[in-house]
């Protein structure tokens, strides 16, 4: 959903907008409005990014009930698009199964305090799922590699916040922001209490198409 005309920034001299210069409509459109739109399009942040160290092992939780089990949940403030939906969170998950049995892995983006039980979600823009049985460490391939919040979900995630507007704790003001948790879950579908080990996670904001 590129909102700029050129999918990019156009260089310009600020002197072109100096006093006593004529205001050129194409200059205003391309250098001011389109450029500002591109800046917003590309303002998305890298929220999570890691691959664990070589030789480092991680402990999955015991999975005796074979229900969806949360491996991790990261606090993740998410940028909101002009249409009220969140920026897309493009993700990539890396890991391996303790043994070669089918395990479902889910990625869920949810408002803080409203992270639904993973087992109850069957389809949502904020959830993606894949099944793997690989005992070899590697990146998983999801059919869709992003999640996002709808307008309603963004409203659920929006929280009030008192912030500083100057250094050294001066000049407080009130604002709101979209506060979410990005979590990774897994479920052993064979009820054999097999663990899934998470070894990498990448989540970055993208304005979307």
């Amino acid at each position: 959903m590129s909102n700029s005309i050129f999918d990019s920034y156009i260089r310009f001299p600020t002197s072109a907008f100096g006093d006593n210069y004529p205001v050129d409509t194409s200059y205003v459109r391309d250098c001011i409005v389109s450029n500002a739109n591109h800046i917003c399009d590309e303002a998305g942040q890298q929220r999570i990014n890691f691959v664990t160290r070589t030789g480092q092992t991680l402990n999955g939780d015991e999975n005796t009930a074979d229900q969806f089990q949360r491996i991790i949940a990261w606090k993740c403030p998410v940028s909101v698009r002009s249409d009220g939906e969140s920026y897309r969170i493009v993700f990539r998950v890396r890991g391996y199964c303790q043994a070669a049995v089918n395990i479902k892995v889910r990625v869920i983006l949810a408002p803080v305090g409203r992270m639904s039980a993973a087992a109850e979600i069957t389809s949502a823009t904020y959830m993606q799922e894949v099944t793997t049985n690989s005992a070899a460490d590697g990146w998983l391939t999801f059919s869709t590699d992003y999640v996002y919040l709808s307008q309603a979900d963004v409203l659920n995630a929006t929280q009030s916040l008192s912030v500083y507007n100057a250094v050294a704790g001066a000049d407080r003001g009130g604002t709101t922001f979209c506060d979410t948790l990005l979590s990774v879950w897994y479920q052993d579908t064979t009820a054999s209490s097999t663990l899934f080990y998470l070894t990498g996670l990448h989540a970055r904001e993208y304005v979307g198409t």
């Binding site: 205001v23 303002a43 942040q45 890691f50 939780d61 990261w74």
Partner: protein, 350 residues
Amino acid sequence: MTSGGPVSNQAVIGDTDAILAGNTVVGTPIESAALGCMWAMGRGAQLIPSYMPAETITEGNSVRYRFMLRPRSQCVDMVWVINARGTGGAVGGAIIELTTDVDGGTVTTKQYSVGDQPFTVWPVLHHQLLDTVSTSVMDARITIEAIDGDVVVDGIACYEAPRSKLAYTANDGGIDPTTLRFRNPIYNGSRKSLGGVATTVTKAFSSARKAGLFMWATGDTTGTCQASTTSTSSSNGLFRAGVPMLGRKLYTSSTTATVTVYVQAAYATGAARTGSVTFTPVSSGSTTTLTINQPTFEWYNTTFTIDCTDLTATDGRRSTRWDDVTVNFYTQNAADTLYVASVCCFEDEP
């Protein structure tokens, strides 16, 4: 309370179709541009994308993590996010003490209670208020001490707290939106009118970077061996696999973005010997090397290029490729030791 331009909760997009040759220039899309720029600058950057140290700190001990960051000049409050759990403490989990500072400035210390459940939903939020705004790189440090009980650090992240307004200063880049409205004159005011917006657009272009692409740190003491070490002369992966990165698309012809990387490392043996840390992105296949030659932990920096966003792709990737950056390290001599304590990758100002 000082005045300033508002920072909205959601992006503001101007209607480019409303500006056509031969038509009157109206204020609405120009005001949208100003609000969009202030949103992009004022919402705050993710300085340290969340990562998983997965390290245990035993009771009575502490680990210091150091990051070289380049916050935006609008940043006044850094929010550290710590996922931690503990065992053996009197409160059922553990008590941790967080100590933070930036470049040796004001030190902020506070104790927190953490639970005993793995991968807690509720992380610790620790605020570090900055003494000054800066456009320079900052050495940001956080020390985690296990006060009561043993502690496992599951996650570290840091982001800039959002602002509610941006002052009409060069550092903040705020602009007075009331000067852009219907029936107002067009002139080149300082933080006002069309000339002011032009200045703010260039400011936002520099400021609204991906301030953290990949950040990793472990304890910066060789004595505790928290740092990753290698003692072979063949190349070793610091991480299990390449780390995916994607930069911001700047100009029309851009297909790559430049990453600035800082590495904190120490070489333990022999004055005349060296170690190396290398970076190899999938996109270019080119290897960039940092040479480590000091016996104490020092910062070393360089740059390399990665893919930038393709705004026509559903997930932004260029050529459907994940641009994984492989980070290797090795010593000149097999018997030597190289310690790597931090790897910090971010986009610098263009």
